[in-house]
Amino acid sequence: MKTKIILFIGFLFALSCTRFYSLDGFLFEPEKIDEYLRPKDLKEWHVRFIIPDSLIEPVTLASMGNKIYGFFVKGNPDSITNNQVTILYCHGNSENINRYWVRVEYLWEMGYNVFIFDYQGYGKSEGSPSGEALFSDGNEALYYVQARIDIDTSKIVFYGWSLGSYIATYLAADVYHSAALVLEAAPASINALLRDSGLLDLHGSYVAEADFDNVKRIANIECPLLMMHGKKDDFVVFERHAPLIWDKAVAPKDSLWVDEAVHDNIPELLGNLYYEKLITFINEYVLD
């Protein structure tokens, strides 16, 4: 009997050492496309086409053996001070760069250089998304920006929206001490997402490979942090996520909790206030 029990336990451990399936796929909603920034594809996102083509530079990088695509947008030449700053923009979990181009316009209007890239499996980028792939893509994007001779590498700001917050926080905590970190509608962690859906305090690793944990990493961040979150966010619910990150973050930190905003409309809802908040934060902590 004792031998059978030992064999059974050994069998369980052997089986559990192999993950036959994970739920990571549910984290990503990529959309493949043949071409970027075609006006007909951008109209639904209220893109204003304000950035001159001469300032938009298509970029391809290699990540885990796959080609990934991005765009480097040179800051508005009229804004001599702000175009010293480069925003590395990590987008959300759905679609591709087209969906987020309007955000690039906002940041460009403020005068900043912006680098936006598609993760593996998104847009034209090869491969398929995973936690490892997204972190690798983030690393490659950062190396690319750092290697450019026309930017000030001491003034790189990581900006992560929703899923992109995991990459931005990972880069700031584990890879490079950026000048600042901006998180918009950031989920706390996969643990928090699990508890949100199942109420039980389960460990994220039970269901997903991706090491997506903003709460764990935020304590290791040494740069100034700006957090933005809509209090009516019906996807990453404010009460169940934002305080978990905020409480662990160390100073200097600033917040923008927007009463009426949902998951994806903080800039649109706030208008000039969004611009002012971001510019003031960057002026204070990056340009000062």
Binding site: S16, F20, L200, F235
Partner: protein, 221 residues
């Protein structure tokens, strides 16, 4: 009166059972299996949600072994096979105690105490344990062992919400001398608002909790 109720239930049973099979489901111990006897149960189900564009109960499955310690108490050990597929060890162990026998309209009562444990490979910080308790009332409807049961299950944890509970109603259908089939409908966390959850549950009565289905098949020996 009792006879009419039995007839109604027995007529409705196949129809409801069919619906539950189609939409998937989950199960619990209803009565002790008797001293020295054993049973193996495979059950699967959970709250209904959309998976790959199909509305279905989350297919969370458990393989459970039961052993009758005496005529009133069973011991059980469960292996959570879905967790195994995901690279984890999920086990539960506990006892079921028969409390009151059925008499007229008074149902039989039993309680089950279990400890659930989960662990992800090579990650000791992932170890979690949850004590659980359930109270199940049951009516045996026929001499063959058809039974209707209902009850409440609670699981405790060290964080808010400290108690997660569900209510259930189910049927037990004997399939010969050794086999038995169970179907349950559960209302998970009926006290928790189900709005704005990451997983969009399909059946949310009054926007609270989530309804799901579980089926199970047992072999006694």
């Amino acid at each position: 009166m009792i006879k009419i109720a039995k007839v109604i239930i027995l007529v409705c049973l196949p129809i409801i059972s069919f619906l539950e099979i189609v939409s998937c489901g989950t199960v619990t111990s209803v009565r002790p299996i008797g001293k020295g006897r054993s049973a193996i149960t495979f059950s699967s189900g959970g709250p209904v949600t959309t998976i790959f564009d199909i509305k279905m109960p989350i297919p969370y499955s458990v393989l459970r072994y039961r052993k009758g310690l005496n005529n009133n108490i069973d011991f059980h050990l469960g292996l959570h096979t879905t967790m195994l597929v995901l690279g984890n060890i999920g086990l539960d162990a506990g006892v079921t105690k028969h409390l009151i026998s059925q008499s007229g309209w008074r149902p039989a009562l039993l309680t089950e105490l279990s400890l659930y444990g989960l662990y992800h490979m090579n990650e000791f910080s992932s170890i979690k344990a949850f004590p659980a308790m359930s109270v199940i009332a049951s009516y045996q409807l026929t001499n063959k062992g058809h039974a209707l049961y209902f009850g409440i299950q609670g699981m405790a944890q060290y964080t808010d919400p400290y108690l997660v509970f569900s209510t259930l109603i189910g049927f037990e259908v004997p399939l010969g001398a050794r086999l038995q089939f169970n179907l349950e409908t559960k209302w998970y966390a009926p006290n928790e608002a189900s709005e704005n959850r990451v997983v969009d549950y399909e059946i949310k009565p009054f926007d609270y909790g989530a309804v799901g289905f579980v089926w199970g098949i047992s072999y006694k020996f």
